[in-house]
Amino acid sequence: MAENRVLMNIEGLSKRYSLRRSLLDALCRVPATQLVAVDNVSLSIERGTVLGIVGESGSGKTTLARCLIRLIEPDTGVISFSNKRIDIATAYELRQIRKDIQMVFQDPYTSLNPRMTIGDALTEAGKVHDTIGLSPENEYVSELLKLVGLAPSFASRRPRQLSGGQRQRAAIARALAVRPTMLIADEAVSALDVSIQGQILNLLRDLREELKLTIIFIAHQLSVISHVADEVAVMYLGQIVEHGATKDIFSNPKHPYTRALMAAHPHPDPRNRIIPEMKGEIPSPLALPRGCRFVNRCPHAAAVCSESAPDLQTFSNGHRVACHF
């Protein structure tokens, strides 16, 4: 029973990039510098829930998301999706799986092919995966457009005739055209105006209800996540530092990084503003600090922090935190 509720399970997912070595270094067998983008991430997502992933730029959120459907090949790790192994799928199997997991990209200005009308893009997706069935093309297209709140007349337009919000709606419609069970929204609202952000967030929330979608929602703002997510995972330098139900994380953030992120959120009343406890910038992923990765920015750093890296400890109600304290 419990097994069945889990839609996607990720275990020990890692992605490293080797930097180019100079010829001399290669000859002297100096090992290539490794850039750690995603480091040993384990997560499981239940059917019908929304998982939010937050973190600063460069924390590996996008790499993680792309690894999930192997747009980037992960180095190690097991990804299973409703009893299918994504990490070892053949090219053919992968195409079938990708039909079930759709992605909405950050920048709606480049994620739609400038040479195709919205209608063409939607019909193509429907035809390739045969989700269009026997329904006439224009009906299928206008149904999808209606789903994302666009008028049927948008079918004949090209991306450059659309505003940012409209493009993102069209991109969502294209993702939905293949009837996915899971949607990965990679910073889907970060490039939009605040008012449009709200609209798209509401749209995603409605779609989730209507189509019983499971959503992974990636953002760099906690406030955006809090509106849509059931669970939140906080990433820092490729690792998950805190993971739990949204209300637990917001009412009782345990990791100092999560607290700092929350403090960074602007408060309507500046007098009540919490002063951020975090200092400095995210360290280069090429030169990770020893021990805990957050040690040189953490207000509570102690000797033990720079000696050993904390493991993710599970508290009651499934709240996981990677911190010595």
């Binding site: 792309r66 459907i69 747009l71 992968l94 195409r95 079938q96 799986i97 990708r98 039909k99 759709q102 992605m103 990209f105 950050q106 920048d107 480049t110 994620s111 739609l112 092919n113 400038p114 040479r115 195709m116 193509e124 997706a125 390739v128 995966h129 991306p159 450059r160 991109a171 294209r174 993702a175 293949v178």
Partner: protein
């Protein structure tokens, strides 16, 4: 002071706007002028069998070296053939050959370049080395070698140009593809579970067309000069078949007392070249504008 400033800034802004719209008007004008010239000459060439007053090889030894008149608009040559009729047939042949030797290499080159740019790795290395090798061959020398092997005629031109012409298009397409394959819509297409060939030919290649098409118009002019040049040298189209290079070569010995045989067909040739160049310029500007709008 305030007045001066506002007046000044307005005039600068105005001037910029005026210049931009003048540029746009000029590029549209050059496109249409080019299309008119090329369209007019091509139409005449296509209709040659119906509108030419005399046959392509109709010899009339009683009226040799006639200067331009109402009977013979561009005069007659040393065998009394009507130069106007020969020019019509010549342009007809020239355009046919030039279209083939421009657009067949375009297709081949775009295909190879797209593959090289998209897949990278050893495929890219192999194709790139082939491009480098081919580009290092001087074209005229290649044609002369081919002609030496298979004898003079159009075949030499076809083989020569097909063998070399694709390289530039391949290089263009490859360079564009390197940019396009990183675009998010390609990533999105992968994420939608599309097959590689669908992504390559339906999503990436249509976005490569622009630069290749613009270049192809300039290439037409080059190929026209080339074909006429090779034929002038006696390596391409063989007399008595009418072809602009052949006609010009035919009239050359009599240039001093029958200037029209060489000069007037030459002028037609120049007009055609200018027409294609204008189209190329206008097209580049206008497509460039569209490109700016999409970004």
């Amino acid at each position: 002071m305030k007045y001066l400033l506002s007046h000044n800034s307005r005039s600068v802004g105005d001037r910029l706007i005026r210049r931009a719209s003048a540029d746009r008007r000029w590029s549209r004008f050059s496109l249409y002028l080019g299309l008119t010239i090329v369209g007019f000459i091509s139409l005449a060439a296509i209709l040659a069998p119906w509108i030419a007053p005399y046959g392509e090889r109709e010899i009339d030894l009683l009226s040799t070296f006639q200067p331009p008149s109402f009977k013979h608009i561009l005069g007659t040559d040393d065998m009394g053939r009507d130069v106007f009729s020969r020019v019509l047939y010549g342009v007809r042949l020239d355009l046919q050959v030039v279209l083939v030797i421009t657009y067949a290499p375009l297709l081949i080159g775009m295909f190879l370049g797209a593959i090289a740019g998209y897949f990278g790795g050893w495929i890219d290395t192999v194709i790139n080395r082939a491009i480098d090798t081919v580009m290092a061959i001087p074209f005229l020398v290649l044609v002369i070698v081919v002609v030496a092997i298979i004898g003079p005629g159009l075949e030499g031109v076809f083989i020569g140009v097909m063998g070399v012409g694709w390289a530039l298009y391949a290089r263009l397409a490859r360079a564009d593809m390197l940019v396009i394959r990183e675009e998010q819509y390609i990533l999105a297409a992968k994420g939608l579970g599309y097959s590689t060939w669908r992504i390559l030919f339906k999503h990436a290649v249509p976005n490569l067309l622009r630069s290749s098409l613009v270049f192809s118009v300039a290439d037409i002019v080059l190929n026209m000069v080339l074909l006429a040049g090779v034929s002038y040298l006696g390596l391409g189209v063989q007399p008595p078949t009418a072809e602009l290079g052949v006609i010009i070569a035919d009239g050359q010995p009599f240039l001093l007392y029958a200037w029209w045989i060489t000069t007037l067909p030459g002028l037609v040739f120049v007009f055609l070249g200018i027409g294609f160049s204008l189209i190329g310029d206008g097209l580049a500007d206008m497509l460039g504008e569209e490109f700016k709008l999409t970004v």
